[in-house]
Amino acid sequence: MKGIVFREFIDMVEASFGDEMVDTIISSCDLESGGAYSAVGTYDHTELVQMVVALSGQTGVEVPTLVEAFGTYLFGRFLELFPVFFNHSTSFEFLDSIHDVVHVEVLKLYPDAGLPSFNSSVSADKKTLHFEYHSSRHFADLAVGLMKGAFAHWKEDVDIAIEDRTSGEVQVVMFTCTLNE
């Protein structure tokens, strides 16, 4: 997983829980990188899982809640760092472009990036988005957080129905997003 995700996680924990918490969770985990992350590096995604579990243990907040909150935080950071990808007029348009546009650009820069894959389709009346997440890293909660970040950014009221379709190693989750007006 790209170093930027780890950096943003550490920065988020430091900003919200304080640098003591960062020190505590890194010390309590057995991390190959020693918790030293550079945005241009690539690290094992299980290190992120370990840190989230440790943060949950320290704070008493459930892991899925933390991962989702991190997703929403990450959306805000991506918006700041890469505004060029967010010139859509609705969140559905943006989400529908991730697999074919955003990830293509990411792969140009990082050919080794292991990205989740998305099958998405927007209904004709543009009120429903079907968004299927496939990933061996099981970060569907992160995807939910990112989606919620997108809905908040475009100031939309959207309900998300989640259906787990995982049958093998790869996590498959179908999100059905409905726009309320």
Binding site: S16, E20, S38, T59
Partner: protein, 222 residues
């Protein structure tokens, strides 16, 4: 829920942080150590990337040079073929002229001579005389034909135009394209003035703004 609200709630449940100066310093030292390690990783990654870029650039340069020499070779072959074609046409024309002259001498002049000259020796000498008088005609005719094909330079100009058009296909002239154009102009016997006139013509025809082109060239020189 927002991560900051989650943190606020968690802090309420947990109480105050450890503010003991020794603990704070130890924590900051560990943080410093991590930051340093991350910086070293970043530097190593960047060094590897720039090394890869350098090698890729070198490979590109090399294949560019190879392409350039291939194009020059092709160009050379093309002009050789063209001049061979011109020579072939000239030879055909010369043969036609020779044939015409032969027919004139054989069927028009010689019967007259045979009628008027009785002496065989004299007749033979006259025939040879007429034949040798025709040789300069033939030479002059073939020269005129050949120079008509090459001196006008129409073919050469056409070939240079084609080259210009393909070079301006993308709107700009790269260093390699410039080299090829220059060496081709010399090969086609075009003066620099003629070459640049042709270039302006092509640019006008393709609708390339000369000012913009100058700006682009200016940028390249910087």
């Amino acid at each position: 829920m927002d991560i900051f609200e989650l943190a606020k709630q968690a802090k309420k449940n947990k109480g105050a942080a450890d503010d003991d100066p020794t603990a704070v310093i130890a924590r900051l030292e560990r943080k410093l150590e991590r930051e340093k390690k991350a910086r070293l990783t970043a530097e190593r990654t960047i060094e590897e990337s720039s090394r890869r870029l350098y090698l890729a650039n070198q490979a590109l340069d090399e294949s560019n040079n190879q392409l350039e020499s291939t194009v020059l070779e092709l160009n050379d072959t093309m002009s050789k073929l063209t001049s061979a074609e011109v020579k072939r046409q000239a030879t055909t024309a010369t043969l036609v002229v020779a044939l015409v002259l032969f027919i004139i001498s054989e069927f028009a002049i010689e019967p007259e001579l045979e009628k008027s000259i009785e002496n065989t020796l004299l007749l033979q000498i006259s025939k040879i005389g007429i034949f040798s008088l025709l040789i300069p005609f033939e030479i002059i005719a073939s020269r005129v034909i050949e120079s008509g094909l090459t001196e006008s330079g129409e073919i050469n100009r056409m070939m240079y135009r084609k080259l210009l058009e393909s070079a301006y296909d993308d709107g700009i002239i790269t260093d390699m394209e410039r080299n090829i154009l220059n060496s081709s102009a010399a090969q086609y016997g075009l003066s620099p003035q003629k070459a640049s006139d042709l270039e302006s013509e092509v640019k006008r025809a393709l609708g390339i703004d000369p000012v913009e082109q100058d700006l682009l060239n200016g940028d390249e020189e910087e």
